[in-house]
Amino acid sequence: MEDLIQLLIAGLAYGSVYALIALGFVLIYNAVGIVNFAQGEFVMVPSFISIVFLNKLGWPFIIAYPATLLVAAVFGIIFQRVAYYPLRRRSYLPVVISTIGASILLQNGALVIFEAQPYRPVSFFQAGQVIELGSARIVPQYLLIIFVTLLMVAFQYWLFEKTIIGKQFQATAQDQQTARLMGIRVDRMIVFTFIYSAMLGGIAGLLISPLLLVYPLMGGGIALKAFSASIVGGFGSVPGAILGGLILGIAEKIGARYISSEYEQAIAFIILIAVLLFRSQGLFGEKVSEKA
């Protein structure tokens, strides 16, 4: 039973991270109709930035964390400009390949600059610190992750449903042409999407880097699972991305404990393929058809 509680909390924590990154995927997909294969680097790059600020420059959290997110935002702009903008009028395929290229470039660029040895960022909680609940031992960082994710989901709801910029964003996501006619500056909205997506990645990075350490390949695996999560939940659907992330996170932990630890890394993808086979619109998605 204690095992189960611990597994559930770990599953929720990792699932929250998947969900945060999946949200970034979905936002970009909704805005410009491409899947960003460098989304994992949206996590990795800010994590390394935080290493520079926290470890190398020794800044306090209160400065280093916002500064990291600021740099993440700038990174989002640059990424948009380099990997997406030149190809914006072409079909999705060149853009997807371009983001794959960007991913290789960023991973190996980081390898050249920071080398393969992992870094451990300064963090709120000491590594190894736990809260004991009965005989279950709960890692405070997990609780922090779950809490921040809830906060971000609430923030996103407010931003997109209750503010003008959110409405403009939604209009852009639905139909760029019409949005343009309505006087929305679509290009600016797209840049905004990339910034927001990169900042979500940055938050995910800040949350998990104390757990996983920071190294050039840290983003790849998580991003693929986050992507699976968004498909499992229903691609393009924001609640779907969140629920998909949580489902995968928990399924992984339970599966690894009670079914097979060596196939833990496959669980997310097995669920993905099963969902694609039997419910291709995802668990919470709606079917859409192409317009002639």
Binding site: P118, A127, V130, L211, K253, R257
Partner: protein, 429 residues
Amino acid sequence: MKHPSRSLSLFLLLVCILIAAFVVACAPSSTSAPATVAPAAGGATPTRAAATTPSGTSAPSSGASGSSLGPIAKGSAQLSGPVVIALNIEVTGAGAQTGDLGKKAIDIAVEKVNKAGGINGQQINLIVEDAQSSNQGALAALNKAQDDKAVLMIGPVKSTQILAISERIKELSMLSLIGGTNATLTKQGNQWLFRFRPDDSIAANAMVAFALNDLSAKKIAILHDSDAFGTGGADIIEAALKAKNLSTVSRQKYTTGTQDFTAQLLAIKSAGTDTLCLYGTNVADDAVIMRQAKEQGLKINLIGSPSYGQAIIADLPADVTDGLYVVNDYFPGRTAEYAEYEKAWKDKYNSNPDTLSGWYWDAIHLSAQIIARVGTDKNKIREELLKTQGWKGSVGTFNFTTNGDGRDSVDIMQYKGKAVQFVKTVKGG
């Protein structure tokens, strides 16, 4: 294309251009013999066909033929020209960084030998072949070493790469001084493989012996990477336990790059484990495992594979690592041979030496000494290698077995607070 003959011509025209371009591009490396270029000592050496110039100093003679100590390689063998030694190492790709450390170790060793007058007056001409961090790349590197008429090849250090090229090594009779630790490498009847590191069976057996004898373990569990290294190590641990009519209480696998071990550690905990053997490859995984073991309150003996000795583990808070045992190739800093390696490294690179690359240094020294005695005939070098007993290198003492295994012991060390202490040397087998 509507006219087949035209299409065909276009096809062939293109093929022709492409092939011509390719042949031209390849020609320099395939026709020119490895030239001895002369960079300034201490400068960066070109990666291909590189060698350092003789510095003109006459080599002081010393009788210490049984050690890497001392600057020279002198003997009676007549050498007709530079001694070509190939290095099969990962210059590009995912393994480039460890490859670079290995190359640094080799460079200082070659530089030292060459500065001291080379091997009987002949320079070592080191040729660096890129294994491209893949099995196929290691093969191409081996074939190039053959094209460049290398006397012997040092590397690869990755077991799968050695498995992949073992057959070809045999075909070419390429004397290969390897660093791969997979136990089976030297047990497949390939007489040309000589291993300069203790193999996994030595390390894994030492782990078991230490757990049973020194820690009085009753319930042993294994947590290992599912790659070749981790699986091989875990298999040997299980076999060693079986030989004593024991078995593991839990064996958990994970894939390299797994980012959470809650499930595996819970399973180990609930099996009532008292001693956990950790067989990992990727140090980032190791660090997460250590942290989570602490979080899970796993108050049991932990014995880790060599990767647990690396900097990021030592960098973890002291209460996370405290008490962790690590089985390592050797415990650095206990011998004069190591001190010399350390000094050479520090002089040249102004940083702490990479301990896992020490064997490269030893491989150059031992082979230089043997070539000085018997010349470049690979059969003779091979026989001499087999006869080598009690030779002291920076990483420890070499006693070659008939299989070509040079090392027969590992050192066990332990984290105590922030420090790492030597515990004991354990002979494997």
